[in-house]
Amino acid sequence: MLEINSLTTSFGSVVALDGVSMSVQESKITTVIGANGAGKSTLLRTISGLEHPAKGSITWDGKSIIGWKPEDVVRAGIAHVPEGHAVISELSVEENINMGSLFRRRVNKKDVAAALEETYHLFPRLQERRKQLAGTLSGGERQMLAISRALVSRPKLLLLDEPSLGLAPLVVEQIIDCVNTLCRSTGLTVLLVEQNANTALGVADHGVLLALGKVVADRPAAELKADSSLRAAYLGY
């Protein structure tokens, strides 16, 4: 459902993505792994319209979304949870969540309320803290909040950038479990970026290994996980 072809994104003389081609299958979890600076975040940011590619194409549901504004990409069903627990500290938990459904509150008011209830069901800790400022949350809670904000936009594709960043293993497992359950039960498509390759490949259907802006492997996740020589060469363990 998402097709990427020879995508190139540069920052001045730094070429962060160098002719990346890959695809994301509907209702599957695809993970992109790679070392620091491999270009994983840039890939997601280019898909969601935050960065403009120099070359290449991105096709979503048969339409090219190159040059679209981020606000239009979300409205087309691609929600991006950027790196680093991106929430707005000065707004309350509930305001942070509601932000994600503002654009469709006039079209389908009932569903907006239902989506809020569903996220509270998914992350009860957020409901307990709904009036609190997001800045007072723990790292794990903030990540849950950022994911909730993305989910209430009712995306077909969820772009997750390193949800495990800076979190304790138990919390990471909890968050990854949630995403996995969502994908399997509702048919949500997920593009998961991770440095934590084992965790990501453990839940994913498909894995893409990125190194210095290039795709070096594109295989079923289990196969990639078993390939210790690739891991040693590109991830260093």
Partner: protein
């Protein structure tokens, strides 16, 4: 006691107007990242529109509401036609340093101020003219004793209070208000949430334009109208915003009232000549004690 009450009332009504000016500045600063020096030029322009309408036989209220409407349209147009193209990343890449890029909108706003003042001078001639008040400006009399405040003061205080309540409710309770706060706080997250930040930015210019036009309409009855009359109001309003905290709408309002009262008490008890030095004093004390303003920088961010 009478002097005290008179100073208190006149200070509160002046302070209410400065609060509006400061609020207008803070809304554009937070919503669009620009310190808008053209703001009172916009207000002057819409007050002239009201004045022209009233002189042509329309009622005060027609002039009043048309001016508010014109003020908000002018604000939005300045953003869409001038500020938005100037903030275009690709075009400003020529300017190498971040600080030079940040200076562009400020210089543009000064240019707009000059242009609006020149234009008003050309259209309406540069000499001062009076501007009517909708309520008497003589002391209010109750049972034959004259009160230390005027009906116009009461009018100003109540209309500003109503505006502040409405603005607060708008920002806190409506979806568009939430979208505007989100844009002001974190543009990237706002856009990723589907918020059209071009729209919210133009809307902050429009709301600020309406608020400052209201300030212009309320202050000119006591100071006459000319292309430059509101310059001083901008300086005081800007000081009020800095005193209260440029990041905080509530702080701006607080700062406005503080400055109004300080100016009024200094005028009544000392002399009008001491007003400037006392404003400077307030500014210095606040900046030394709380460099980000009384309510500024009180965010809950944990790093």
């Amino acid at each position: 006691m009478d002097t005290f009450l008179a100073a208190l009332f006149s200070g509160t009504s002046r302070g209410a107007i400065y609060a509006l000016v400061a609020l207008g500045l803070v809304i554009v600063w937070r919503g669009a990242g620009v310190v808008n020096f053209a703001q009172m030029g916009q207000a002057m322009f819409s007050t002239y529109i009201a004045s022209a309408l009233i002189q042509n036989g329309n009622s005060y209220w027609v002039g009043f509401f048309v001016a508010l409407f014109a003020g908000s349209i002018l604000g939005a147009l300045l953003d869409i036609l001038i500020m938005r193209p100037l903030s275009n990343k690709k075009k400003t890449e020529l300017l190498s340093s971040e600080s030079m890029r940040a200076a562009v909108p400020v210089i543009a706003s000064l240019g707009i101020l000059g242009a609006l003042q020149a234009l008003a001078g050309i259209i309406w001639a540069a000499e001062e003219r009076g501007f009517p008040a909708p309520a008497p400006q003589e002391g209010f009399s109750v049972a034959s004793s004259i009160m230390p405040f005027t009906s116009f003061d009461l009018f100003v205080i109540s209309i500003v209070a109503a505006t502040l309540v409405m603005t607060t409710l708008f920002f806190k309770r409506t979806g568009v208000g939430l979208a505007m706060r989100a844009t002001a706080l974190n543009q990237e997250v706002a856009r990723l949430s589907g918020i059209r930040t071009n729209f919210t930015r133009a809307l902050s210019w429009a709301i600020s334009g309406a608020a400052s036009s209201l300030a212009g309409l309320l202050i000119t009855p006591t100071s006459n109208l000319s292309p430059n009359t509101l310059d001083l109001v901008l300086i005081i309003g800007f000081t009020a915003a800095v005193v209260g905290g440029l990041d905080s709408p509530a702080g701006a309002v607080l700062g406005g009232f503080i400055l109004g009262l300080v100016i009024s008490f200094v005028t009544f008890y000392l002399s009008p000549e001491d007003v400037f030095i006392s404003i400077l004093g307030v500014l210095l004390v606040v900046l030394i004690v709380k460099p980000r303003g009384i309510l500024g920088g009180k965010d809950a961010r944990r790093v």
